[in-house]
Symmetry: C2
Subunit: 204 residues, 2 copies
């Protein structure tokens, strides 16, 4: 035992399992909770217990949800004919934070990666195809990372949906806002020239 | 609501109250606990609840303790005639980790700081004086930070214990191991010349 208290030792062990947290940071957190912020400790206990008991997966889009169907799928204001296909729930949150997308999502739970032994059967692909057929989907936005695995997944899905009248699109690729041109990688820079867009004058 | 789930929202709010953790890191932790490590979530819930219910303060040295008297005070192998006076429990842990001290501790719970309105009455000073008188203490090591507040506290304690036959010592001050001489501050460097120690040849 390192801290002369088994109780603190246990709490430090628990917190040091969090991503990016070592034993020193875990100890700092635990001491903070005990010494300065007992209310936050209670809040963490309650919210985690609640989450453990009640958090569900939306049966339509596989996003996390408090109910059978998530807030986004249940929202009548959103455009249900557009589905953004993403790898993980974290991507849903990232896109939601931009406030630029008002359709629905479909969380695949990963991307096709033969090296890691992940095939289409391990992902929520079949559920996506079923949704597209049943729901009168007009557009599928492939919000996947521009990696080999992401491209493979996009290719697989596009092939499977070829016979349906669904528009397939991918996120625009190009130079990041605020990025320096000279430091952009050659592939991105080359592609961004090929798929240049016409300039819109802001004054008009 | 930002995450389409109130349960996740609550958990993120709880975790973002931890020191050094913003909402992005908190979300990363919460998603990790839900998606990859449900066992760690249970561990955090249980250890925090246990700590909340059972963690005590040692009535002798004011360290955290699982019992009325802490492991260190209860250890018969340790030298109970030497007390290391420290500001906080974190200092106890830091010194314990060096494995170089085998006496006992006394946690003051702060240092005298008139600017912040902290006087001797706000600290565990009286309890220290009582301990020294009752316990046949031989040496008091002042393990306080070399700041104005720390020095003031050392001065106050030394004055109060003047009439007793107790040796008072402070931690050695000087250049840190691995530190570059040219970057050491003048005060530390000057003091380290004045209080130089004789060189011990390792071969002998």
């Amino acid at each position: 035992m390192r801290y002369s208290s088994q109780l603190i030792e246990d709490a430090v062990n628990g917190f040091s399992k969090l991503p990016g947290i070592g034993r020193k940071s875990a100890l700092r957190m635990v001491l903070h909770l005990v010494q300065n912020d007992r209310k936050a400790a209670a809040e963490i206990i309650n919210s985690l217990s609640n989450m453990e008991e009640n958090l569900k997966t939306c049966r339509r889009c596989f996003n996390f949800s408090d109910h059978e169907v998530c807030e986004i799928c249940n929202n009548p204001v959103r455009d249900h004919s557009v589905i953004c296909v993403v790898e993980s729930i974290r991507d849903v949150i990232a896109i939601e934070e931009t406030d630029q997308f008002h359709g629905t999502y479909h969380v695949l739970g990963g991307v096709i990666s033969p090296i890691d032994g992940i095939g289409p059967a391990d992902l929520n692909c079949e559920e996506l195809f079923k949704r597209v057929e049943e729901e009168d989907t007009k557009e599928l936005i492939m919000g996947l990372s521009p990696t080999i695995e992401g491209e493979t997944t996009i290719f697989y899905i596009s092939k499977k949906l070829k016979h349906l009248d669904v528009k397939l699109s991918v996120l625009a690729r190009g130079i990041s806002f605020g990025g320096e041109l000279e430091y952009a990688d050659g592939l991105t820079l080359g592609r961004s020239i090929l798929s240049r867009t016409s300039y819109v004058h802001l004054g008009e």
